[in-house]
């Protein structure tokens, strides 16, 4: 049984239209279904505004879902009341992009983590103290620095503090929203390795949200690609990267500047920008920018369906099986 099973989630934000105009709704996440297994990393990629952060926030109920279900270990998260939710929150935690903004500048590391332990566990003061030291050690920080404040740490160290705080309640799932995007490459590598070590030790699952495909490919077992609030492709990392079955994924892959790629490779340059989610195009959301679009794409919306490119590999494109073997980015042609 999967750890988290998400069915048909839709998240909308009301958007005001002047004093007397009708209230519009922005569909940030539209009819999204997927699951996360115990102990796996599911990568979530997409451009800004595609709804990846909204999806992550909806799952841990920082945003309210308009409809749908998220079954976490037999419990539907969306039907919990606030006191049940508070107890349940220790099963899933979140790490944000900007570690400085997510730490209280007036709380030392000790008080930030101790607060979590006080609220969520029945440990005594000495036990909490021991737990704090072991948490800091786990994320590679010196326990003797526990009385320092966030501004006394570097960006990478602050992200370690956020990770320690998320781990304090021993969650089964961490939603990591762009956890390494604001860090330098050498520090980014440290944090990615740390997240993987923790997973090996504790069997925690991650929903790893990022826009950097290379990072997502490195850390994830499976990858999910979003465009304008919908999942356009989901499958095992290897299969997605080597045999993408959606033209948007192909364009994303070809746009990644790589250090050692062959020179004969053709880059797919997508025309235009992502359309506004307030006014999404009819039919397939990607068709106005798609190099392979046909008349059918502007009328019907393709459903997410199994593709022959790999097992458990789904794509929301009518022509998903026509792309097999056409995209060999990795061999350089």
């Amino acid at each position: 049984m999967p750890l988290l099973k998400v069915e048909n989630i839709t998240t909308t934000y009301p958007v005001g239209k002047g004093w007397f105009g009708p209230l519009k709704h922005l569909h940030a996440v539209r009819d999204v279904s997927f699951h996360i297994e115990k102990g796996e990393t599911l990568g979530l990629v997409g451009e800004s505004g595609c709804g990846k952060s909204s999806l992550g926030r909806t799952l841990i109920r920082l945003e309210k879902a308009q409809s749908g279900k998220a079954v976490f270990d037999r419990t539907n998260i969306f039907s919990l009341n606030s006191s049940e939710l508070r107890k349940f929150r220790r099963r899933f935690q979140m790490i944000f992009q900007d570690p400085y903004a997510s730490l209280n500048p007036r709380m030392s590391v000790r008080s930030a983590i101790d607060e979590v332990l006080r609220v969520h566990s029945a440990l005594s003061k000495e036990q909490r103290e021991r737990r704090l030291a072991s948490l800091l050690e786990m994320v590679g920080l010196d326990p003797s620095h526990a009385d320092r404040y966030p501004h006394q740490f570097s960006g990478g160290q602050r992200q370690r503090i956020c990770i320690a705080r998320a781990l304090a309640v021993e969650p089964d799932l961490i939603v990591a929203d762009e956890p390494v995007s604001s860090l330098d490459v050498s520090v980014q590598a440290q944090i990615i390795n740390l997240l993987q070590e923790i997973q090996n030790k504790t069997g925690i699952a991650y929903l790893f949200i990022a826009h950097d495909l290379a990072v997502v490919e490195h850390i994830s077992r499976r990858i999910m690609v979003m465009y304008l609030g919908r999942i356009v492709e989901i499958g095992e990392s290897r299969s997605i990267i080597r045999n993408p079955a959606h033209p948007y994924t192909m364009a994303l892959i070809s746009a990644v500047p790589a250090i050692d790629r062959g020179t004969g490779r053709k880059r797919i340059i997508l025309p235009g920008d992502v359309p506004s989610p307030l006014n999404p195009p009819k039919g397939c959301p990607f068709h106005p920018r798609c190099p392979a679009a046909t008349g059918r794409c502007s009328k019907e919306e393709p459903p997410l369906a199994l593709s022959m490119n790999g097992k458990e590999h789904y794509s929301a494109c009518f022509y998903r099986d026509d792309f097999y073997g056409k995209m060999s980015v990795l061999s350089g042609n």
Binding site: E47, S186, N193, Q196, I259, L270
Partner: protein, 332 residues
């Protein structure tokens, strides 16, 4: 060998903060030729942006002190002068006209209360106060950077454009001065990958058409090997490695460059673990006496006691081997 356009000789920049002199860039020497794309790579705080801002004297003085060196622009002509000894009036003739900049965050660089048209037209009028077809030229520039329907888009305010469109408008503005050198400081860091690909392609095409030189500052090594002809790697204010982009990507010499390349996940290669560089870049007030990378260097860890002393005590010089430069005692 192409004609040189910018020549930096032994440039050192420091900041005077609270009575203390903090070195930001130390004895930097390099040159850029016409039509060349030079990439400057390094982590935050290594001096890439400071060096770039110095080319048009954009750093506030004080606290900035140019402790040594010269910036000759345009090199090779009788008009070539040392930018560091120019008067404010002379620099104004270069800034935004001969040397243009594109910065990281377009929404911060554009003035929010003026229409795109006014901001670009201002550059054109400053370049040439007798320009008559200003409107036509703005439309031409906007269409050149790939903004659809430029005649109506130029009436937009910056907030009405997407990030990619704003960056295109910034590039149009930089091109309006008809520069000989475009300095792009992390031009795509704030943009999505598909938009990044568009912008990089655009900069390359403009270079091919106009033959201007481009200096691109980035921390993304992928961009370097796809865009640049030559690369400079900086670490803690020092130039540590320099050479053709393809050579450095394939066979980096300096331990820092090696570590930097292996710290990035390689697309399509499965790796168990990423290489990390222990610690962080030292701050200017705590620069070590010898090699500034000593302490984080994996090569130094494998050395004997006496060999290590050389790294700890002496700053290595920039050695040249076959058109490649490397600042290391042991890796040459």
């Amino acid at each position: 060998m192409k004609e040189k356009i910018l020549q930096i000789e032994n440039l050192s920049i420091a900041f005077s903060v609270g009575g203390e002199i903090l070195p930001a860039v130390d004895s930097l020497s390099f040159s850029v030729s016409k039509g060349e794309i030079l990439a400057i790579v390094g982590e935050s705080g290594c001096g890439k942006t400071v060096s770039c801002l110095s080319f048009a004297r954009l750093l506030p003085e004080p606290p900035t002190i140019y402790t040594s060196g010269s910036i000759i622009f345009p090199t090779g002509t009788s008009a070539g002068k040392n930018i560091l000894s120019m008067s404010a009036r002379e620099i104004r003739k270069i800034r935004g006209k001969k040397i243009s900049y594109v910065f990281q965050e377009p929404s911060v660089s554009l003035n929010p209360v003026f229409r795109i048209y006014d901001q670009i037209a201002e550059v054109i009028c400053l370049r040439d106060d007798e320009a008559d077809d200003v409107r036509e030229e703005v439309i031409y520039l906007l269409s050149k950077v790939g903004i659809p329907d430029p005649a109506s888009k130029m009436k937009a305010y910056p907030h009405e454009l997407s990030g990619g469109m704003q960056q295109r408008a910034m590039i149009a503005m930089a091109l309006a001065g008809k520069p000989d050198l475009l300095v792009a400081d992390e031009p795509t860091t704030a943009l999505d990958v598909t938009i990044q690909a568009q912008i990089l392609e655009l900069i390359k095409n403009i270079r091919d058409e106009s033959g201007m030189a481009v200096i691109i500052v980035t921390h993304n090594l992928g961009i370097v090997s796809e865009m640049a002809d030559n690369v400079m790697v900086m670490y803690a204010g020092h130039l540590v490695e320099k050479g053709p982009a393809s050579d450095i990507a394939k066979s980096p010499l300096h331990p820092y460059t090696k570590a930097l390349i292996s710290a990035v996940p390689q697309f399509g290669h499965e790796m168990e673990k990423l290489n990390t560089i222990p610690g962080t870049v030292p701050s200017p007030s705590k620069y070590p006496k010898g090699c500034r990378f000593y302490g984080r260097c994996s090569l130094a860890d494998s050395l004997g006691h006496d060999e290590k002393r050389l790294c700890a005590e002496n700053i290595p010089i920039l050695h040249e081997t076959k058109a490649r430069f490397c600042r290391c005692h042991y890796s040459k």
